[in-house]
Amino acid sequence: MNVFLYAFAGYVVLGTVIALMAMKGLRTQEEYYIAGRKVSGVVSALTYAATTYSAFMMVGLVGLSYASGVGALGFELFYLVGTLFLLSYYAPKVWEMAKEKGYITPGDMIAERYGREVAVVMSVIATVALIPYLSVQLIGVGLILDKTSAMSFSYGIAASAILIALWAFLGGLRGVAWTDAIQGVFMLLMAIAAIYWVHCNGFADKDFFAEVTRLGELLVVPNSVWTPVKFVSLTLPWFFFALTNPQVFQRLYIPKDRASLRRMVILFGFFGLIYTVIVTLIGLELRTMTEIGAFPRVEDRDAVTPTLLGLMPPLLGAAISLSIFAAAITTANSIVLTLSSMLSRDLFGSERVGTGRVIIVLLTFAIALFAYSRPNYIVELSVLSSTILLAQLPLILGIFHFKGGAKIAGISTLLAGFTTAVVLSFAKFSPLGIPAAVWTFLVSFVVFFAASRLGI
């Protein structure tokens, strides 16, 4: 039995005990999906951070920084300042409305303004957008565990799927938030351990700031990878992530009071800044080490972190692998729980917690099945998720800023945005050189305003 499996066994037991403790009193949907609106600021911040920052950070972003340089930091920090900007304005309004009117899902807010049918369409579109994204999380974790000989690909998928469903099923949002909080701290500590090890091994007797200049154009933007068009196409959907992704939007309902909501946003900001800086610095340090011959040249950017883990002492490698696993689980079970709330409440109109629990199991099964089969189009669909979700933006902003717009405006906006995102992305077509994300953004707003002017 390798070191990872011992650590994994402890992780499973701890998480399951926490989820069981959280089960007490989960009788209503308000308790089950938003923890009765009684979550402290610190736990809210950690669950927000752990939900947002997936395995992409320690795998995808390390590799992206290694391959494309400093633009990866700009892309990720654009997301963070966008989130802080939006939350410092909208979060208090959303929280007040949700508390006053008893909203549980993001769809409840949409349904009240635009009609229940719009919330139904939104729940379906969110599910279609997020299932491939979740499957890619599982695939990523399965590959990491397989490459580091911690666990085979199939077992990695199965273990992830079981934990995602189990902890959400048992403890609802309270269980997810508590386990997220512990895992969020663990993710940050392991990122610090990773950068410390990389720095000690690569730059003990060298000056990083002097050596990094070897990276040349990777240290400026735009460069051959980060063209302005690519930067905008990746950044635009992420800038609005806090409003368009239901799993984080629903977290605006959970703080126990206004002070806790504020603390959630601020602490999340500090977590995000520290985590992003560390992760991108790992990528830049490893690339610099490659240039001075202290780290192998890795052509596939997704293989950078597995290569690093293979060079680390087994105990540290196992701990960091576990933190990557935790990052995937915390993101996935939060999304599954939110989707189950939207499907059971908005789509099926159920007020029962049991319906949501059944949907959690079915959704997780579908995600695992997708991950096992690894269809060719799954990566494209996953990348597409944030672009598809942009279609909701006019409706959400419309609640706060525009009086017009009703059922037809809502449905047509969602369908037009969804269709634009899917067609342009699959056809790999960028009319006038403008990327699909920008077209989706423009088409959704144009359709929304046009339909609103007609009063429909």
Partner: protein, 47 residues
Amino acid sequence: MKLLEGAIIIAAMLVPFWAIKSYDMTTYLYWTAVTAAYLIYITIKRW
């Protein structure tokens, strides 16, 4: 006022695309500093 705040932060984040061309960690440190400054602003302002 909020729109102006948004325009300023976006403009500040875009500065490296046209104003920073040195092949060292300047862009990296600039983006980190701007984000940290905005985070501190969010922390101390009333909202």
